[in-house]
């Protein structure tokens, strides 16, 4: 059974179509990364899955519940970790978890809170107000709050946005542990590395649609080949190199101050200058080629 099934889902906000005929199926037990640039419709998709937004067209099923009619029952079996920190900052860590354990009708609130505190490694800080915690601790608490009822499915909306690399790595470890335990995870992100490290499969989303989906390795092989050559230099030179590469049918994308010739292993006859930095093709190459957006 698929944990999530979306068929032809459309969501409009006035003249803007945020989700445009989205088809998405997430089998149970995998971590699917929704990778897309800002404004691709990822957060709207998350809100559709919790019933906090109602689709204008299409069919949605979550954990075998029809949405929006059975959204409340579906929410009971899923956990949500939002992009924005919406913890109660004056309240203790323990009370933040206890409130949500009650909202999720957990029979033994105390035991659920203890377990969540252990997961977030916050047992020693249980009596502290949230505004006394560091940014990383708050994020871990937010994750623990979404897991306090041991959901079958967890929605992570940009789980590490705005965090420094060390905290991001800490959270990745926590999320990876969840994945290992067989919890189904749908994770929206615009961080390439996050998708690459955590997701079993990646769906690249742009303008409200899934434009490619496979494992990271398959996506790279299908869209970026094996190698990418990065060429640095003054703009005139980059323009010249780009023209030669494109004449040979190679995809070229901007890469900060350089240009990247994707699939450079297929180049011949000087399309790749000798001073180019050749590296293995990456998911970032795929992302930029498919969406036209700069990667983060």
């Amino acid at each position: 059974m698929a944990a999530i099934e979306l068929r032809g889902v459309v969501k409009r906000f006035g003249p803007i179509t945020a989700v445009d005929g989205l088809d998405l199926e997430v089998p149970e037990g995998i971590c699917l990364g929704l990778l897309g640039p800002n404004g691709a419709g990822k957060s709207t998709t998350m809100r559709l899955l919790t019933g906090q937004a109602i689709a204008d067209e299409g069919e949605l099923r979550v954990l075998d519940y029809e949405l929006p009619a059975e959204a409340k029952a579906a929410r009971a079996e899923m956990g949500v970790v939002p992009q924005l920190d919406n913890l109660d900052v004056d309240v203790t860590v323990e009370d933040n978890l206890a409130v949500f354990a009650r909202l999720y009708r957990v029979p033994d609130v105390g035991a659920a809170v203890d377990k969540a505190l252990d997961l977030a490694r916050l047992r020693e800080r249980r009596g502290d107000a949230v505004d006394e915690l560091s940014g990383g601790m708050r994020r871990r608490l937010l994750l623990a709050r979404g897991l306090v009822h041991e959901p079958r499915l967890i929605l992570l909306d940009e789980p590490t946005v705005g965090l420094d690399p060390q905290i991001r790595t800490e959270l990745w470890t926590l999320i990876d542990n969840l994945r290992s335990r067989g919890t189904t995870i749908l994770m929206s992100t615009h961080y390439i590395e996050e998708a690459e490290r955590l997701a079993d499969e990646v769906a690249v989303v742009n303008k409200g649609k899934v434009i490619a989906r496979a494992t990271p390795a398959e996506l790279i092989a299908a869209h970026a080949g094996t190698h990418t050559a990065e060429v640095y230099g003054p703009p005139e030179r980059l323009t010249e190199v780009r023209a030669i590469a494109e004449q040979q049918g190679l995809a070229v994308r901007p890469a900060g101050p350089a240009i990247a010739i994707v699939g450079s292993e297929r180049a011949n006859g000087g399309a790749v200058p000798e001073d180019a930095v050749v590296r293995a093709a990456s998911l970032e190459d795929v992302f930029v080629l498919l969406t036209g957006a700069e990667a983060e």
């Binding site: 906090q52 409340k72 929410r75 924005l84 009708r105 709050r145």
Partner: protein, 263 residues
């Protein structure tokens, strides 16, 4: 959660409402001292200013009731509107727009109807309690205790429910927080002034008297005075009016919040 529990999910679940109220209680524990202090101090200041000040210079009594007791019993309505409508307006707006609290709650198995109901009940419980403080203070200023006063918390609760619904509906309607100035100036202040707290509405022009009968605060003032000085049969209709007001604003608040919270 087991699928057995999931199957039982229905409208207005007590567990969902209690869960949301437990969040309010957890927050209240962090700010109750300040709220309680101002709730006690404010009626004392009003009673000293209006009750003692006016009764010493201009008014001895109204309808046979010492003026300080007349104002003291009326102040219950003031306490109720200021501890229900205003927290409902500002609290709801802040939780929705700045703290994203409702996004978190609605990601759990809770719907907007339960959310609004729980918020109204919490505000009404708090306001129903604080609304009684002016009455207790007035007893300290010489008002004789009466058995009817035991019903005052229920009158306050019903009125506060209505104004909590009103405040939540306003919070879901305004675009910016400073638009509450219009609500306060055009609704709350006139309701407060023509409630019969400081002067009997019989002294107003007839048109104002008719409008005052539609003012829930006036009905509350009359009920509190009934509790202190003796009920009349019409008080049953007054209480029914307050219950009707609460039911009406409850449904309006749910409708407005549904539009605001669900895209």
């Amino acid at each position: 959660m087991s699928s057995g529990t999931t199957a039982k999910l229905r409208r207005l679940e007590p567990a969902a409402i209690a869960g949301i109220m437990s969040r309010e209680v957890a927050n209240f524990r962090t700010y109750w001292k300040g709220t309680t202090f101002s709730s006690i101090l404010e009626p004392i200041v009003y009673l000293l200013a209006f009750g003692l000040g006016l009764s010493a210079t201009l008014v001895d009594e109204v309808n046979g009731v010492p003026y300080i007791q007349f104002v003291g019993t009326g102040m219950v309505a003031t306490a109720v509107i200021f501890s229900s409508a205003l927290p409902a307006m500002f609290g709801t707006f802040v939780k929705h727009r700045f703290q994203n609290t409702y996004d978190a709650i609605l990601a759990a198995p809770v719907d907007v109807e339960e959310l609004v109901t729980a918020e109204m009940l919490w505000i009404a419980l708090r306001s129903g309690t604080y609304g009684c403080v002016p009455l207790l203070v007035t007893i300290g200023f010489g008002l004789d205790p009466a058995w009817g006063m035991l019903l005052v918390p229920f009158f306050c609760f019903a009125t506060a429910l209505g104004f909590a619904g009103f405040g939540i509906a306003m919070a879901a309607t305004v675009a910016k927080i400073d638009q509450f100035n219009y609500v306060t100036a055009l609704c709350i202040t006139p309701l407060f002034l023509v409630a019969g707290t400081f002067f009997p509405i019989e002294g107003l022009p007839e048109g104002f008297q008719i409008v005052a009968q539609l003012n829930p605060l006036h009905q509350l003032v009359e009920l509190v005075r009934g509790g202190a000085f003796g009920f009349e049969p019409v008080d049953i209709a007054r209480f029914a009016f307050l219950v009707g007001f609460a039911l009406l604003t409850w449904r309006i608040a749910i409708n407005r919040m549904q539009n605001r919270l669900i895209d």
